[in-house]
Symmetry: C2
Subunit: 302 residues, 2 copies
Amino acid sequence: MSFLPLSEKIVAMRNPSVIGLDPMPDYVPAGLLAEYPDVCDAIFAFNRGIIDAAADIAPAVKPQAAFYERLGLPGYICLLKTIAYAASAGMFVILDAKRGDIGSTAKAYADAYLSPRQPLPEKKPDIDISSALSYVDSLTVNGYLGSDGVLPFLDAAKASDKAVFVLAKTSNPSSGELQDRDIMGRPLYRLMGEMIDGWGADSIGSDGYSACGAVIGATYPRQLADMRKALPHTFFLIPGYGAQGGGASDAAPGFDEKGGGAVVNSSRGIMLSYRKKPELDWKDAVREAVIAMRDDLRAALA
Amino acid sequence: MSFLPLSEKIVAMRNPSVIGLDPMPDYVPAGLLAEYPDVCDAIFAFNRGIIDAAADIAPAVKPQAAFYERLGLPGYICLLKTIAYAASAGMFVILDAKRGDIGSTAKAYADAYLSPRQPLPEKKPDIDISSALSYVDSLTVNGYLGSDGVLPFLDAAKASDKAVFVLAKTSNPSSGELQDRDIMGRPLYRLMGEMIDGWGADSIGSDGYSACGAVIGATYPRQLADMRKALPHTFFLIPGYGAQGGGASDAAPGFDEKGGGAVVNSSRGIMLSYRKKPELDWKDAVREAVIAMRDDLRAALA
């Protein structure tokens, strides 16, 4: 079922890392900006280098749709190329788009991002993007609208052997304004967790996890531990590691006793790692950062 | 300020309608599908016809991003063309994308959809889309993440003389699963309303409304009345009229005593109106439906 390909990669690589691809134009190494006059070409070359550096070490990438949408049509094409390239490199692709709507509209989003996979193209710089959206393995979803806003996504995901991550307790400082509010004796994010658990109940795979995952920030380790205990069949996507202040020990409570059931995302910590090691080629610096994150998580989960 | 251009159009046209552009390929009249072999070209021709039929009667359009995203790259281009064409026709453009994220990511979405307007292109079928996203006048936003997830959008909107609509009480049957939950004596959607009121407090324009609007479904008229009373400075976007079951009398409680402060959206009721009048040219049928909706709302607000 759904998260099984990711669970298997995590076990094989002994690494529950996700490489976040959230590129601002000024994140791109100067050499690439010089080589590619078009900023979206430069960003794609940057993403390609990161994917090449990480694909044998980390199981998954998470492109953040906003950073591509802000660049308009060329940015959208860059997102499609990035998804196709990462999939062709064998990585599990989580599209972080936080979509959420109802009925036929939710179905339309699900058609876009959770439809059956088409055959993968050859991995090369001028990669074929005609089926790129079909390579998305998992989509982030906002559950504020209730079941009508989640089930069309989840149904499509189950039909395509894919998965969704629903926002529960987000990593940002103000997440508590709504998510920590008390509802009949437990915080709202716990209620959302119970809803996620219910939505996923009929899709539990051989790895023990359903197709309906949850997003819970590493910046809230106590809540992460609480949710891990309450939701034994819910796979977690844990943002907030690195630049947002969460460490491996903060993310660790989100894992099960076998070190499974969760992935930890780092975006700026990987993408900007080359700035801290100007003596290295930027790809080598990125590779070192990917390895360091893996080792950091391994140590925290040992 | 922000909603003022929309408020002024509503007064001038005596019409608080929004024409929803949520095109499924099978919504497009057969003649257009025959004329345009590419489905996205056919959809754009359909949207163009609807805009031409409605632009002197209705003040605003609301393209729903999902229906374009589901068609991949050609769909995205069709969305850009539709936004540019509607803006060039003088309509207020509400992009219904329900974006929501935090910090630099929310800022990236805001850069995409709430950046300063560029000069409008000439209104014609091969319209220039290079600045299309800048013509978005208002964006729908999901506030589940709290202030960090809304203020970057609102700040960008205020800087560009634009506006946002934050989801409060959505029109779908299951919206109450989360939104009706009791939080310290009032339902969650009311709490969200209070947050929206606070976010908008420093951007109240000469029409009496702030740049931070709220989405509240016509399918919940009692809640709409309650919110109108509680939030005198919050402009409402009211979906759920027509195909979702809400009537003009259900939407009416969302308006102020002058008939301002709200817009009502109809998508399928307008787009599919031609099917009910096969004796008419489809554009004439759409125009009649736009006029009928205006008159229905005028009567309910009289």
